[in-house]
């Protein structure tokens, strides 16, 4: 009796409304219909809202005359188009982000390592730094630095560091590297060096692959790629360096010269100038992010188990070798993913420029919205720009992370 029952239950057909396969498809379709309805609802609302405002979606404004000035960035004239203005904003965002990432990384690694110092005082200073700057909103820090920038002494009484960096109410003046007439010939030498290096490396790799290791069995033989890497490391790099150095002296003029900012009647001339807005934003972004990077670095180094250090010491490695050969290679794969997200945060946070009037991508977008009333397409442009930045950075970092984990493990 019992044996008869169980197969009967299984053979019973499940009604479709309890069939999990059917339900899965059904709910997904329902969900998608819901999303589509929401989109349609929003779209019709948008058309209504736009007609009430008396505007239409229209992208032609991008090619019309902007009519506003931008305080900094690549040269821009009010008679140029909105599209060009937007591009200036993008370049400004990239500029402050890249410089900010560089500074934040340097400061962050410094304080991250300092937090692990064997010196108690250094450890305390580093943790006070981290706790202070991590726990205060970034925007507050930026407006604070900007307020400081605006009460600096005037041009005449600039604070000068080493007689080459000048800080005053107009911003920071730095010496800059400028190419001279010798730059172009030198670039040709460099190109020649690269071509020469490539030829030599390919030849060497082919020689090693086809002649030197010919007797070895296929599986023991170093691959062609690893031969190229070997050549690049031991032959190409020295060749390239040699050509670059020889070329430096062969050119009629030294390719670069250092331009010092000099105080003249109407302010400083020569060198690089960071405006107060740019400087405040850069300091704010770099300091704030560096506090987070310090934490990332600290936890990354601490993630390397103590036994690894002890083992490395016990086989007789020096303290510097322990760090270079054992700790850092294992810490880097732990550090890179959160480091990436800090870089992305910094790039996104650069939009806080709007608080102090630095014309980054977001602020230019906002001006454009105010001028044209085309808020929807401009918002789309802003979002897409940020998304492209985020996605490319994270793609690059994923690739790097992948590579480093393969080598590390």
């Amino acid at each position: 009796m019992m044996e008869d029952n169980s197969p009967k239950v299984i053979s019973d057909k499940i009604p479709f409304y309890r069939d999990i396969r059917f339900l899965k498809v059904f709910f997904q379709i329902l969900f998608i219909i819901g999303i589509i309805l929401l989109a349609v609802f929003l779209y019709s609302n948008m058309l209504n809202g736009l007609s009430k405002q008396g505007t239409e979606l229209d992208l032609t404004f991008l090619n019309s005359e902007a009519g506003f000035e931008l305080s900094e960035g690549i040269d821009f004239d009010p008679s140029e188009t909105f599209l060009k203005a937007f591009w200036v904003g993008i370049v400004n965002t990239l500029k402050v982000s890249i410089l900010g990432i560089f500074c934040a990384t340097v400061i962050g690694f410094f304080f991250g390592i300092a937090r692990l110092s064997s010196n108690w005082l250094i450890r305390q200073i580093a943790s006070v730094y981290v706790e202070c700057f991590r726990n205060i909103p970034l925007v507050l820090q930026i407006v604070f630095w900007y307020a400081i920038m605006l009460v600096l002494p005037g041009v005449g009484e600039s604070i000068s560091l080493f007689d080459s960096i000048f800080i005053n109410v107009q911003g920071v003046y730095l010496p800059s590297l400028e190419g001279t007439a010798g730059l172009i010939p030198w670039v040709w030498y460099l190109l020649a060096g690269i071509i020469l290096a490539i030829i030599v490396v390919l030849g060497l790799a082919a020689y090693r692959y086809f002649f030197q290791f010919r007797e070895l069995h296929e599986t023991d033989r170093p691959s062609f790629i690893s031969n190229i890497i070997f050549g690049a490391k031991w032959v190409a790099a020295p060749i390239f360096l040699a050509v670059a150095i020889v070329g430096w002296f062969l050119t009629p003029e030294v390719p670069f010269e250092l331009l010092q900012p000099e105080l003249q009647r109407f302010g400083f001339v020569g060198g690089m100038n960071f405006s107060p807005e740019f400087t405040a934003l850069l300091i704010g972004l770099a300091v704030y992010t560096s506090a987070f990077i310090a934490e990332v670095v600290r936890s990354g180094i601490q993630a390397v188990v103590k036994g690894q250090r002890e083992a490395a010491r016990s086989v007789g490695l020096k303290e510097s070798q322990v760090l270079r050969l054992v700790v850092i290679p294992q810490a880097i794969p732990v550090i890179v993913p959160p480091l990436t997200s800090q870089y992305l945060n910094l790039a996104k946070n650069s939009s806080l420029a709007i608080f102090i009037g630095f014309p980054d991508l977001f602020q230019v977008g906002e001006i454009m919205m105010a001028q044209t009333g085309q808020s929807i397409p401009i918002f789309a442009m802003i979002m897409v720009s940020y998304l492209i930045m985020s996605l490319t950075t994270s793609a690059f970092m994923n690739w790097y992370n992948h590579r480093i984990t393969r080598i590390g493990r």
Binding site: Q28, S118, N135, P137, S351, M369, I376, F379
Partner: protein, 394 residues
Amino acid sequence: MENLTFTQEVKPPDTKKGPVKWLKDNLFNTWYNTILTCLALVFLFFVFRGVLTWVFTQANWQVIPANLQIFSIGPYPLEQIWRVSYVIYGLAVLLGLSAGIWNGLTRQITVVIGCLGAIILLLPFATSIREQTLIATVILAVSFAIGRNKDNWKQWVVVGWVLSFPWTMMMLHGFGADTVSTTLWGGLLLTLILAAVGIVACFPLGVLLALGRRSQLPAIKWVSTVYIETVRGVPLIAILFMGNVLLPIFMAGDFQLDKVIRAMIALTLFSAAYMAENVRGGLQAIPQGQVEAAQAVGLTYPKATLFIVLPQALRAVIPAIVGQFISLFKDTSLVAIIGLLDLLGIGRSVLGNSEWTGLQAEVFLFIALIYFIFTYAMSHVSQKIEADLGVGKH
């Protein structure tokens, strides 16, 4: 055994213990540490000298006490200030009761808050503020005494906490003819409300998004993923602006949400995406066996998720979640850009007053200190919770 007693009897020489030993071990153990210590001392000397000179001789701190009320509640009308007091009293009752019932962390937090109240009493604040602080502190102490060992009140207190949220909002806004428009909310009050709403609302939304992203149904998975990645890819300020500029276009008819609500929505939608990623990290740490075991004992998907997976997943990511709350709290300062008078916005409007121009550094440092106290307390509590739950020790 004999060896052990022998070693215990030998006392270390004086140079091997006490402050001298500590100094030697921690500051002067190698020649480069000695140099570093000296450099750090010189550095600290100059920093302290500079900062202290500025704080005590150059800075004009008049602006802080003169505007204390504006900093705390913004343009909230004075004759309605009893609403704020009642909210604080209500929260004090709940906190006191909780501290009585649950010992441990809750009690510690309450004691700290009570001490803060006592400190405010001693400081030269306006009489009305001190009066209200006194009442709140007394209420806190009394309800603590009442709540002691009343274990059977637990569920009621939890219900009270849940209800405290709508109660607070209704109290502050008022009902009927006698209302305080949200445009008059400001200062620390607005900052705290924005943060509280964001924290309370983004949490469930984030959990749902995380579950959605881990779902086996492709449609739900893709929609969640696209939402999370898009929101995480753009700055918060863009989303706040969108709430401010675009939302009115997308709203049906003449119905319009006010600015504070729009800012709340933007903050919530933004944090939810980050919350989802934190929760997803926790979900990934749960072994598949847990889900299978739950299915084996006949739990449905919602039950297995609610009772088996989520409690473990959330516990594993408490530090990340609190970190997210902290950054949400800091992010509320961005609402100043859409014209709300939160702590930063009110600071800027105080600076706009001709009486106080040029005092940027003082005002911003004061605001920074307030933010710092809150965020530092939050991260301290999170470390405590972590230690109490023994995260990472199992």
